[in-house]
Symmetry: C2
Subunit: 518 residues, 2 copies
């Protein structure tokens, strides 16, 4: 057994049975090992950013890592933006980067580069597997490292000779320790603060936005008459009718600061104290109002839902919250096709169990409200700010949850970073409906240009934010990658296309040409 086979066998034994891959020559033995370990599913991507983003989406839905297989430093580079996002998602991910054979590195061949330094910038754990004898145990260690709550990227750099040489030994999976609980003194301290009658809020992030945590949080909020807020860009938010409703902090720093104004206590529940997404001249970066006390109830390396349940008990919260979302759907929209009409259409038809990968950016501001009362569903957002995450995350979510409908809400500018994801959707026949908001520009940058005080009437600056000349035909691009596409021209046509796309197996793309907001 060679090192590659030992790794693949160990991964499968450790529960990692999907590998999103874009391999090259130095990974050919790993690829060959897919046939000797039939339980491992290889999912091919045409670009590494698709593979890394898919592993993120997979982990969000599966709660366990997928593996990624990348080719040398350039492959890691191509996958880096979505590894950055995955780091911010705080999901488990086993990132395997092939390298030249150990003895070949000193010759500085064309593809030689410093993989380790790049990998460390996104990884919580990085190791080089030097010998086939170690490859299996290194893989087991990687899975363990990736899986430590809340989850992180474990990068295993695999020289070609460690991969191809015999002597590989599969390792037993590590037994993962459960996430530790929060000390009762911390629970009691927060409970005391919440009972003091001053305006307070729980800011929920990470695992607090899953159903169990949300239900406990809603009980606390009802009992203590405090607010529930969610971080701006959740990794996975469970929402919809019958679930506790929670408001996401706005992206715009001014609005977020306004939302926090007047609070005397802000309790962080697997969340960070809010800061501005970008810096702006003469505006604060830290958004918590002066005089507001910030306390940490629980962080992501601890048992988050248990901490919320313990707090609910400590404040003597009743068993049920009154703050559950009622089942309400908007009317089907009529007339012009706008971002607002698309929000209504989604609210009108979103099926139970849907998984929404939301990278609609400016066009997506009207989507959250109308879908709030739809049947229970999951909402996945752009966690790290590096655009080009939405389509790959949809791929990974679909692989993890093959029986659930996936809706990818995708902005035109963002789609173009990782559009190759469409091909993997077609190849794997994934049930993904892509709603492509085409407003012909980097609308968010048009807004930001003004907000950062760089307001320029200059033609050249505006041209740099305009992607409408030439116009991009997303329906043509979609068909080029093998995904059927439509281009409805009214709200009614859009809603019908959306229903059909969701009902039919396999991927579909709906290009919606919408007026820009900025």
């Amino acid at each position: 057994m060679n090192g590659a086979e030992a790794i693949v066998r160990t991964l499968v034994d450790s529960g990692v049975d999907v590998c999103f891959a874009n391999p090259g020559t130095s990974e050919m033995h790993f690829v060959a090992a897919l046939d000797s370990v039939p339980e491992m599913r290889g999912v091919l991507a045409l670009f590494e950013g698709v593979a890394t983003g898919a592993a993120d989406g997979y982990a969000r839905m599966k709660g366990a890592p997928a593996a990624v297989l990348l080719h040398l430093g350039p492959g890691l580079g191509n996958g880096l933006a979505n590894l950055h996002n995955a780091r911010r998602s705080r999901v488990p991910l086993v990132n395997i980067v092939g390298d030249h054979a150990t003895y070949h590195k000193r010759y500085d061949a064309q593809l030689e580069s410093d993989i380790d330094s790049v990998a460390r910038t996104v990884s919580g754990w990085t190791r080089r597997s030097f010998r086939p004898e170690d490859a299996g145990s290194d893989a087991a260690d990687a899975v363990e490292a990736a899986s430590i709550p809340p989850g992180q990227i474990a990068s295993l750099i695999l020289p070609a000779d460690a991969s191809w040489s015999s002597g590989g030994v599969p390792a037993r999976p590590h037994r993962l320790a459960p996430a530790p609980g929060v000390a009762s003194a911390v629970i009691d301290d927060v409970a005391t603060r919440l009972r003091d009658g001053r305006p307070s809020a729980l800011l929920l992030g990470g695992m607090a936005l899953r159903e169990r945590g949300l239900r406990a949080a809603a009980r606390i909020a009802a009992e203590c008459r405090i607010e529930l807020l969610a971080e701006t860009f959740p990794t996975r938010l469970q929402r919809g009718s019958g679930l506790p409703a929670v408001e996401r902090l706005p992206y715009l720093a001014e609005l977020a600061a306004g939302r926090l104004e007047g609070l005397a206590h802000l309790i962080l529940v697997d969340a960070k104290a809010p800061v501005s997404f970008f810096a702006y001249p003469d505006k604060p970066s830290y958004l918590v109002p002066d005089g507001c006390e910030v306390s940490v109830l629980v962080s992501g390396d601890q048992d988050v839902p248990a901490a919320l349940e313990a707090l609910a008990d400590a404040v003597d919260a009743g068993p049920d919250s009154t703050r559950l979302q009622s089942a309400t759907r908007p009317q089907r929209p009529q007339g012009s096709l706008t971002a607002e009409a698309i929000g209504q259409a989604l609210g009108a038809v979103l099926p139970e169990g849907a998984i929404v990968s939301d990278e609609a950016n400016t066009s997506g501001v009207f989507v959250s409200g109308p879908t709030a009362g739809a049947p229970p569903h999951d909402w996945l957002t752009l966690t790290g700010g590096a655009i080009g995450q939405g389509l790959p995350v949809a791929v990974g979510a679909a692989v993890a949850s093959p029986r659930r409908p996936i809706i990818a809400l995708e902005a035109d500018g963002s789609a173009l970073y990782t559009l190759q994801a469409l091909w993997t959707m077609a190849r794997e026949n994934l049930d993904v409906t892509v709603v492509l908001f085409n407003n012909h520009r980097y609308a968010i940058l048009r807004m930001e240009l003004t907000r950062v005080g760089a307001a320029s009437s200059g033609e050249k600056a505006n041209q740099m934010l305009d992607i409408g000349s030439p116009d991009i035909d997303f329906a043509a691009l979609s068909r080029g990658f093998g995904v059927p596409a439509s281009r409805p021209s009214t709200a009614e046509e859009f809603t019908t296309a959306l229903e059909q796309a969701i009902a039919e197996p396999g991927p579909h793309l709906i290009e919606a040409v919408v007026p820009p907001l900025f």
Copy 2:
């Protein structure tokens, strides 16, 4: 004047008047500065790898750096593979990476990451511009660092507040020192070796593959009856009728080693001693035969053509070489459309002054021979092995050389890494003809799978190298990005389409479905 304006003004004053950009919020003041410094041309890319690859292609043809503008760590990541290639091209390139404001970094906002560590892996010079007062002089230093022969990547990390704050001062450009000459003792030593009558070869790379160096090398070769070889992947090779013919070392290590067999002297002329592109089990990495002496005539930080001319004088070479390429073109091909027919068609119609960006990989093996006797032209290759370079390099070459026809020979698998380059070709109306070899697979990996000894009859391994299911419709993708496309089905139709595409202004794509070689 703010820091951004000082940088743009300094760049222009230093001769850097093109900026390939994919900006974000933290770069908005730099974008606005494009309007206050009208001499700077901004070229927008939809993906950072297009911008970095274009700057490489630009520098190859211009002999001077372009600037690149990237958004934070993820933007750098997306541009990293083609920065890796540019590092191997040894071209000058000023890489400007926007960052959060200095005071914002400690808040670890979503897009915060370790830019410096990643930038250093590809850069010969890396600096952070902390204050607007320093921005101008930092930019001048960056241009100087980039331009030191043979050229390297200079990365300037630009915090948003250094960009937007006033106090910027444009800096005077540095005067660049000429490349130093080679000591006469070195010239004489090599001349002595070449006169000893034993089998010898000059291995030419870098600047030795431009016309002046080639002519001197050909004089030496004729006088001393030695061989002329070129490195496998030249940054820019001037070739065609009337120019000295030089044979590129084969990509395959076995063939390269065979080509070197029997040599007693190998003289390196701005080239490295040949090593295998990848390592293979039980095959040598170092390809120079045992007993062959290796001498360095000149390296890239020295005056390469002057060294060759001095050597020609030292060996009393005659003024002209007999080894000039004769003007010969193949017949126009007939019948089936194959990679071989495409090579013939290119040889038959390649216009004088054409610039060929060659990333055809396996399909391209038949292209070099039939085009050797075409009118003088430039050949640009995949210098760093990170596929996805060919189309961006064509963009940059077209911006640098607007009056010359550009031909991009592109393999299907490679094209899909940076296909967004097509949109920039359309937007800038660049005279690029893309010949897209579609063989439905990663053919080079099919070959490498066997060569590395991972031969597997396994279906899963073969699937990971197959990009033909679903079939990718490159003509549709091209039209989606605004580039007219055709899909000829015979050799005759292809040749006609090629002629028309070259004759008509603006970009065109010709999709050639060809049988795979592997």
